[in-house]
């Protein structure tokens, strides 16, 4: 595109006409800052002083109408469009690998309505999630969506990658928290999904676009559920001798009631992160449970929790560690507490039913530690259902063992990821739980879905025949 200055200038004027000159940039600083997200490879690339692929135009529409204009221009000229929220994604989903247009959603940050009757907030998807939490708090409510990236990711970002927060067991994932959405299709048409999220009017349009990572259109507005603040939120820390007991206890507990927070740390993570942040200096598997709601219900739930976990030999550590964990739940992710370059690291979150999840953990651990002896493997299990749980497993390779050459570092990174995720798939896991696919895991989508992948490909081909929307992401 840069080689054809005439056409570049022509398209720029059309984009400026669509969104306003001040909201359309070709400045180096804008291209650079939209070329590096939280994806380890993009960070490593920048750390090595290399430039990641850049967009030709950074465009920030204010609403669906302006988004529609941009997509019509992009379709006419067949220019790739990569949607960017706040850049906090870990899978490279927002990297403009083919250049073209970055469509930054953050100007679409308006909070249109806080509806305490319908119990939702209607907002632009460029709103930082913390801001809609503040809006809910102002009327005594909460979104109950508390991911570590609460302060740094947009509503659209969570929707695009099927995000999740720490209270998911009680309140659900982001895909459970949406009522209605406004979406701009690749051809520029503006559509609305059904006014209620549960219905029998055919397949669920919400769930077609949630998790589509900008490959099928741009979500521009959403109604996000809000909840009453709990009368009481209590915490209880436990130490299990091993994780097997914790799985048995948790599965039984979830047949009785749903706590809000459930987090089980394997022995390695208990001995590292939990020791550092929460202060538990004991051998075993630390588990933190929070339960909340109406006070009388919380009393009953606490009784059930203590009785159930006692049956499986859990040591009751009281409320102190759990409260400390709640206070520090985001501390884990600040530089200085979190892994960072020059380390190589990644989180291979996967999910499976109870019959498989423990086996997956051990299989992934063995695969990583056997094939990459320089890697450390730690994990916790932080999202639980009546039927199964998610393993949030991380590999960490110290900087001295990471190649300095960026291409060699990329090769190692790809190899570790392929090894770990394939181990999960081989034992019945899913390619990802809540970070999404992006460019990082796109190659593994066909291995996950096999011939079922043609369903996604068919939808993609119909909605985006020119293939302009976020190319090479999601395996599409």
């Amino acid at each position: 595109m840069q080689g054809n200055m005439f056409l570049h200038a022509m398209i720029l004027t059309e984009l400026e006409d669509a969104v306003g000159k001040e909201n359309c940039s070709t400045r180096e600083i804008d291209k650079i800052t939209h070329s590096v997200d939280y994806y380890w490879l993009s960070r490593m690339w920048a750390d090595r002083g290399e430039k990641m692929p850049q967009a030709d135009f950074i465009v920030a529409p204010k609403d669906a109408q302006e988004t529609s204009k941009v997509l019509k221009i992009a379709n006419y000229y067949k220019i790739p469009v990569t949607t960017w929220g706040a850049g906090g994604g870990t899978q490279g989903g927002a990297i403009p690998v083919c250049g073209g247009i970055i469509l930054d959603t953050k100007r679409m940050n308006r909070i249109y309505e806080v509806n305490t009757e319908g119990m939702y907030i209607e907002c632009g998807t460029g709103a930082i999630y913390k801001h809609i939490e503040w809006a809910a708090n102002e009327v005594g409510k909460s979104t109950m969506h508390f991911p570590s990236s609460l302060t740094c990711s947009t509503v659209g970002g969570f929707l695009a990658h099927r995000g999740i927060g720490v209270c998911s067991t009680k309140y659900g994932k982001i895909d459970d928290m949406v009522l209605q959405m406004e979406v701009v299709l690749p051809n520029g048409d503006i559509i609305n999904t059904c006014s209620a999220p549960k219905h029998a009017a055919g397949p669920d349009l919400n769930q077609i676009f949630i998790g589509s990572e900008g490959t099928l259109g741009v979500i521009t507005k959403a109604q996000i559920r809000i909840y009453d603040q709990p009368e009481e939120r209590r915490f209880r820390g436990f130490l299990f001798q091993d994780m097997h007991g914790a799985f048995q206890a948790s599965r039984e507990l979830l047949q009785k009631f749903k706590p809000s927070v459930m987090r089980l740390y394997d022995e390695a993570e208990t001995a590292s992160l939990i020791k550092k942040i929460v202060g538990v200096e004991r051998k075993g598997a630390f588990m933190n449970i929070a339960y909340e709601g109406v006070k009388e219900m919380v009393e009953v739930e606490e009784k059930i929790l203590l009785e159930t976990f006692k049956k499986y030999g859990a040591e009751d550590l009281g409320s102190e560690y759990g409260e400390k964990w709640w206070e520090e739940k985001i501390t884990f992710f600040y530089p200085g507490h979190m892994m960072d370059i020059p380390q190589m690291f990644g989180t291979m979150d996967t999910i499976a039913p109870y019959g498989k999840i423990e086996e997956i953990y051990w299989a992934m651990k063995e695969a990583i530690e056997t094939n990459f002896p320089q890697a450390k493997f730690i994990a916790h299990f932080s999202h639980w259902y009546e039927w199964g749980a998610m393993v949030y497993d991380r590999f960490i390779i110290e900087g001295k063992d990471v190649p300095q050459d960026p291409v060699e570092a990329l090769r190692l990174h790809q190899a570790v990821w392929s090894c770990g995720v394939r181990a999960a798939l081989a034992h019945g896991g899913v390619v990802n739980d809540h970070h999404g696919v992006g460019i990082k895991l796109g190659r593994l989508m066909k291995e996950q879905y096999g011939p079922a992948m043609q369903v996604f490909e068919g939808i993609k081909k119909t909605l985006d025949p020119n293939g302009i929307m976020n190319p090479f992401k999601l395996g599409l």
Partner: protein, 361 residues
């Protein structure tokens, strides 16, 4: 660009961290990714690695209002304000400042204020002249009030007059140096300006600093830069709160529902949050909006309005929206610069008042 090792460490910590995204007044107002602390750090990290040139990032370095919101929420203690100020200083030393910043610096050096104003407004001149005689107490109005919002400067004088305070105002008030510090950080010229102002202020027992920018500069930055002051420096709001407590000002409480916009210089840097509230609660019904006290979000910067006025309007508009969201019909600020920027927003939902407006009625 030659950056200190300390700045490089902070830059490299912040370049891939988004945790303060929600608090940045500029980034959230513009919606521009480059206005986040991490983007500024990323750009500077690439300058440090010779991937980008200073010229590629310098405009962005001046889009930060140095409010320290990001610093305040960083659990680890990384400091984007520190490295942003150092980048400004280094750009100045390497003669790579944008022309619009150079012009403001030149004004500071030539006229003592970035606006290049050489003559005071007539009404203000008269008000100042009435307090030319030496006393123990010096009221420092500051460059924003004297040059850009003279009506408020006059009101500040009237408040102290109403309380029966004997005080001096200088016709040729020296610049405290906060504008130079904002523009180019700890340059030699900045320190010289500060030292000259300190020398004048040291001739008084008490110095009352009307503008929170001056208050932060004199009470905090002077100490950091090794500029000695012997006078007792106090903020205007603390001084007035004490007058009120002593019964020297008469409280007259109305039913007006107001919220207070904490200036970050007072709340975050000087830990002064309750004195302004004591004053306001004596004249109106005080409520709170989101992000108050140390978690305050800046509502604008008059100096930045010289080169990015639309952005400052967006910043102020967001804060007015916060006030409107909690049902306030009035927002009160203790910072004359924020007052001017807030007033410039075309809207009629939330009235903007200064502390002086409230007291004088």
């Amino acid at each position: 660009m030659i950056m200190s090792q300390k700045s490089k460490e902070h830059i490299d910590a912040c370049r891939f961290c988004w945790m303060c995204h929600h608090i940045c007044p500029v980034g959230n107002a513009t919606g521009q990714e480059r206005n986040t602390a991490r983007a500024r750090a990323l750009g500077l990290s690439l300058v440090n690695r010779d991937t980008l040139q200073v010229e590629d990032v310098i405009d962005n370095v001046y889009e930060c209002c140095l409010c320290g919101g990001c610093v305040g929420v960083c659990i680890t203690g990384w400091d984007p304000v520190m490295f942003t100020k150092e980048a400004r200083l280094q750009a100045a030393l390497e003669d790579k400042l944008p022309a619009y910043i150079n012009a403001l610096v030149d004004n500071c050096l030539d006229t003592g204020n970035a606006y290049g104003v050489t003559e005071l407004d007539g009404e203000l001149q008269a008000a100042v002249a009435a307090h030319a005689a030496p006393t123990d107490t010096l009221l420092v109005l500051g460059v924003d009030a004297r040059c850009k919002v003279p009506a408020q400067a006059v009101k500040a004088i009237r408040v102290l007059e109403k309380a029966g305070v004997s005080f001096t105002v200088l016709a040729n008030e020296p610049a405290t140096g906060w504008q130079m510090d904002f523009l180019v950080g700890a340059a030699e010229e900045t320190k010289q300006q500060m030292a000259a102002a300190a020398q004048v202020m040291n001739g008084y027992k008490t110095v009352v600093l009307y503008d929170p920018n001056d208050a932060k500069c004199v009470k905090q930055t002077y100490h950091e830069y090794g500029v000695e002051t012997t006078a007792k420096a106090t903020t205007f709001t603390a001084f007035v709160a004490a007058l009120l407590a002593e019964g020297k000002l008469e409280a007259a409480r109305s039913d007006r529902a107001v919220v207070y916009q904490d200036p970050y210089q007072l709340a975050r840097d000087l830990s002064e949050t309750e004195e302004p509230r004591e004053i306001i609660a004596s004249y109106a019904v005080l409520g709170e909006m989101l992000c108050n006290r140390k978690e305050t979000i800046a509502a604008g910067n008059l100096l930045m309005a010289e080169y990015i006025p639309q952005v400052m309007e967006q910043v102020a508009a967001r804060r007015l929206f916060n006030a409107e969201s909690v049902g306030a019909d009035t927002l009160v600020t203790a910072c004359v610069g924020e007052y001017a920027v807030l007033k410039a927003v075309p809207q009629d939902k939330v009235a903007v008042l200064s502390i002086e407006d409230l007291i004088l009625g």
